[in-house]
């Protein structure tokens, strides 16, 4: 009989709530990869774990807050950013990350997203973008490409989607990048960079959703969509921001990279007297 070796521990045990596994995500989903990148960034960061806080909204990506073994807040649909604003302003020593999805952040939370970027408070926002509302079964959202099929756009979406990079750049974020869940090194690096970057940082991570989005749009499996990322992704840092829109189905590049890295002054509340 072969020796069976049990690992004593997993390197992420401390940072992921293993007692909450298995997670709820579907086979082929990319959110777990994105969460793993976030967990690695926390382990690699010099920031004390005690000061790491994650806030999420509602949806598949919103469940990340429940799996991270740090102070974690799973709030209401769309309201993760303003909740994070309160945490950060109340205790500036906290390193507050918002981890949520495209529907939560850009539709119902869209106003908070642009005002968060405008205000430029020191927050890191990780947005997994799977082009649909996955948890509720694949409805169209603000990132669903024109003419893509979802359960609420059965004849093809009649709406134009947001180009999140362009939106966040225009709104005033200090750091804006886009990768896919294939780009784990770059994602970890950018999350770490965003931790240290003053002001509002936004990292968009494209992520397959074979069950919610892929099956209706000819990407039957997560692997298929990942393959597409590998074939189509191009560094797009030289491109005009307005050209960075995404349509997986079109024969055109998916532009990735660090698009905005600037040093506009981050939001600081006015203080006159001695600290209380």
């Amino acid at each position: 009989m072969r020796d069976v070796v049990f690992a004593e521990a997993h390197p992420l045990d401390r940072i992921i709530r293993s007692d909450r596994m298995p997670h709820i995500w579907c086979p082929g989903c990319g959110i777990g990869i994105a969460m793993r990148c976030y967990a690695h960034a926390i382990l690699n960061s010099e920031i004390e774990e005690q000061n790491q806080v994650v806030v999420s909204g509602i949806g598949c990506s919103g469940r990340v807050a429940g799996y991270m073994n740090i102070d974690s807040y799973h709030t209401t649909h769309g309201r993760a950013i303003p909740f994070a604003v309160g945490l950060k302003l109340s205790n500036p020593a906290l390193n507050v990350t918002v981890f949520s999805g495209d529907g939560d952040l850009a539709a119902i939370g869209g106003n908070h997203l642009i005002h968060g970027a405008r205000r430029n408070l020191d927050l890191t926002v990780i947005c997994t973008n799977n082009f649909n509302y996955g948890m509720t079964g694949g409805q169209s959202g603000p990132t669903t490409p024109y003419n893509a099929r979802t359960t609420t756009s059965p004849y093809g979406s009649p709406e134009l989607p947001f180009n999140l990079v362009d939106l966040l750049a225009a709104a005033g974020a200090n750091f804006v990048s886009r990768w896919t869940v294939l780009h784990v090194r770059q994602v970890i690096d950018d999350i770490l960079y965003a931790f240290g970057k003053p002001g509002f940082s936004f990292i968009e991570i494209l992520s397959p959703c074979p069950v919610g989005f892929g099956k209706s749009n000819n990407f039957e499996t997560g692997i298929e969509e990942m393959r597409l990322y590998r074939e189509r992704c191009e560094m797009g840092e030289h491109m005009p921001l307005s050209e960075l829109g995404i349509d997986l189905r079109a024969e055109r590049p998916i532009y990735i990279g660090r698009f905005i890295d600037r040093n506009a002054p981050p939001f600081k509340p006015v203080h006159l007297g001695p600290a209380a």
Partner: protein, 386 residues
């Protein structure tokens, strides 16, 4: 100004400003809000005052963001509040439920105006009373207080923070435009005389065994703030004592029952009221907020006519002041409810009067303070006074 930033002394001040000074005195250190008449002066005053005491004023993009920021600040350990009116109060209903579910203490001030919809932005109303009780989806209990003067707004702002922290609930201060904008004497005590009830804090060893939603005998769990090393999880989903989601009917019953019982079992401590000329009264006038001022005058004038009227003022509108009401109910022959809405609190009185004794209302849709006249007329009618 004292070292604590508290404006100890006598002031001639409007209710909105008195609310802001109450917040400073209570140690509130974050205000997140969105300007809306007639509550705007609360925000304006705190925009000036909070930076003087090391606190944070932030104007958010809307009322949904305002209450979310307040809850985030509460989770990180601050006393935090927002102030709003009608339409903004409606927008806050969503996260009022989150405050209930996460047990995040906070103070939400509603300076009520004529409603529904945009209604009468600059004029008074008292028509958000049932919304305060039932406005967020689901079963919940909270505390809501209704001040009748600038001094009482100041006092109840402090008390509201204390109650919120003690029971880990959102507390509503349901003032109205009359009280928010009227200017009267407000006496602000020395810092040492201001009551302060701290949150029950987690004091175990930070680690795996800590269950952030394990309640004590009072059904209130000790509070672990963000950044204290407890690695807590808070969610709006139904959750167990660890804070972990548990999608079962059993856990839902257990959690929601506790959140409701937490308030109901402590109801006697949350109730507040005062009475006027009730000793030998056989007609009881119930009212709250600015209307209670008119009720008092109506009762005084009725007394001058020889009618044995008395007044019960609801300071806590939620919970309804059960004890005070029950103590008076038997001696009364009739009940009159006066309020600036078309009949809200009267339903609470009706369901408590389980006899054939008449309950009648003096109602107005809003736009002006209910004057003493119609209340006096109703007292006379009920008394059979010619």
């Amino acid at each position: 100004m004292s070292e604590t930033g508290i404006l100890t002394g006598s002031h001639f001040m409007n209710g909105d400003h008195a609310c802001a000074e109450g917040a400073i005195a209570a140690g509130c250190r974050l205000f997140g809000g969105y300007p809306i008449t007639p509550s705007t002066e609360v925000a304006e005053r705190l925009a000036r005052r909070l930076p003087q005491v090391g606190g944070v004023f932030i104007q958010m993009e809307d009322e949904m963001a305002s209450i979310a920021a307040v809850l985030g600040a509460s989770a990180a350990g601050s006393r935090a509040m927002t102030a709003t009116s009608g339409p903004g109060f409606s927008l806050m209903m969503e996260n009022l439920g989150l405050a209930i579910m996460m047990e995040l203490p906070c103070l939400i001030v509603n300076i009520q105006r004529g409603s529904p919809s945009t209604g009468l932005p600059t004029l008074p109303g008292q028509s958000d009373i049932m919304q305060a009780r039932w406005g967020s989806h689901g079963d919940y209990r909270l505390a809501a207080y209704s001040p009748w003067s600038p001094q009482e707004i100041f006092d109840l702002t402090i008390h509201g923070f204390n109650v919120a922290d003690r029971y880990r609930i959102p507390v509503l201060l349901m003032a109205d435009e009359v009280v928010g904008h009227m200017v009267e004497r407000v006496v602000i005590p020395e810092a040492a005389e201001i009551p302060f009830w701290d949150r029950k804090r987690a004091n175990g060893k930070a680690g795996e065994t800590f269950h952030p939603f394990e309640p004590g005998e009072d059904l209130v769990p000790p509070f672990a703030h963000a950044g204290e090393g407890y690695r807590v999880h808070f969610t709006g989903l139904t959750h167990d004592t660890r804070g972990y989601p548990d999608m079962s009917a059993e856990m839902h019953q257990q959690l929601v029952r506790r959140l409701v019982d937490k308030v109901e079992r402590n109801s006697a401590k949350l109730e507040m009221s005062d009475d006027y000329e009730v000793e030998d009264a056989n007609i009881l006038v119930l009212s709250y907020g600015s209307t209670a001022r008119s009720a008092r005058r109506a009762v005084r004038e009725a007394r001058e006519l020889g009618i044995k009227a008395g007044a019960l003022r609801l300071i806590s509108i939620w919970p309804f002041p059960e004890q005070a009401f029950n103590a008076l109910a038997d001696q009364m022959d009739a009940f009159i409810v006066a309020e600036v809405n078309l009949g809200q609190m009267i339903t609470e009185v009706e369901r408590r009067v389980r006899t054939s004794k008449p309950v009648s209302g003096v109602h107005h849709a809003g736009g002006a303070m209910l004057p003493p006249g119609p209340i006096l007329e109703e007292i006379k009618r009920v008394a059979g006074h010619a």
